[in-house]
Symmetry: C2
Subunit: 214 residues, 2 copies
Amino acid sequence: MFNFGPEMTKTPKDSSTEEKIKEAARRVFMAKGFDGCSSREIAREAGMNVALVNYYFRSKSQLFQLIFRSTLEDFLLSMMDIFESDMPLENKVRIFIEREYEFLSRHPEMPVFIMSEIRREDACEINNMNMVERIAATGVFDEALKAQEEGRMRKIDIISTMIIMMANCQFPFLASPLIKGMHKLTDEQFEQQLLLHKQYVTEMMMGYLFPVKQ
Amino acid sequence: MFNFGPEMTKTPKDSSTEEKIKEAARRVFMAKGFDGCSSREIAREAGMNVALVNYYFRSKSQLFQLIFRSTLEDFLLSMMDIFESDMPLENKVRIFIEREYEFLSRHPEMPVFIMSEIRREDACEINNMNMVERIAATGVFDEALKAQEEGRMRKIDIISTMIIMMANCQFPFLASPLIKGMHKLTDEQFEQQLLLHKQYVTEMMMGYLFPVKQ
DNA sequence: CAAGAATTTAAACACTTGTTTAAAACAGTT
DNA sequence: AACTGTTTTAAACAAGTGTTTAAATTCTTG
């Protein structure tokens, strides 16, 4: 009689068209944003019928929520996995920067997608993600506190420390069209600049957060 | 016979409705982006008829180009006016940061507007703005080069220097919804954090760009 | 194979989009 | 007052929007 959609029944092979639509949506949303694309464009990108988008995900908005949430999750995890290892804090920070540049080189559109789409009411689940709590659970904040008490680390509150690290890692990717446009850089020149920049900001942040005594 | 629109005739009182529409468009575009709003919404915000938008600006796209270009210009000028004064380079950098935070506190949505909308083909006039050339004309790059030769300034290429300064000034505003969401900050708490952060990044950048000899 | 459920399709729904049209209202000049 | 050109309006245009419907197809299982 009634059709409750696929979520209720969960076919064994985990419906590859569902996955195809999700991946298409991820690409299109990332490139153009929620308002910049249509359901039909997503369906076309996936090689599917329009109605399937709503058949599997009920609405464009719910599909977007799904994509945005999982993107934010990837984004968070990329920052977290370093902190769980056991090495000196100084090394963690150094490797964090390294990994972050590597991750963002593979997903250069991610920061601008997050920063621009986070304003939508569709995307208000940041509060429910417990991002800071989960990072705190790695123990890295305690390490920082301890390092500060021992005088190895500069006494800066943790929020500013995070902003500094995120800013100097993410901004070059956030502003890449502006930077390329301003300095008339080709893609290859920009990539070269990124490598150089990573070294500078590593030097700068390490020198600031972990000053040598004298 | 034909109606060429108001640009051809330029009434003396400089048509205040034209200005009203432009200001409404600026507000709406800034808040929602080009794709996130309609011509009718802009007209409504301006208290005008829809047709007037196209009567004065020919199309939504041309109106957007106008707004985006002038925003980019404001953005550039806010960075430039410091460099033209005559004071030691160190002071210029210090005051640049101060002014940039002050400017962005008054226009907090500007960075995310620029970074997200710059991808549009509507907005491809960055190349024609000669941003770097105009900054170079202030002589600040030459000053930096001289300071580097004299050993007062660290030897970093000018592009990375600019990215570092832009990143640490603009990122907190770019990521403000994310930061507020992550750390569950109220608007007042965030403003407090901004003040603190400005001090930290000033200290960090000054220390890095102008290291004390030993 | 046949029955029933799950998937896919084309078509339609009501509504919004950017833009244009043609008439109306306004202004200024003689 | 009548004619001028300019500004404003309501209405219409075709095209595109998210979403739904109901029929067609495919798949699964008895």
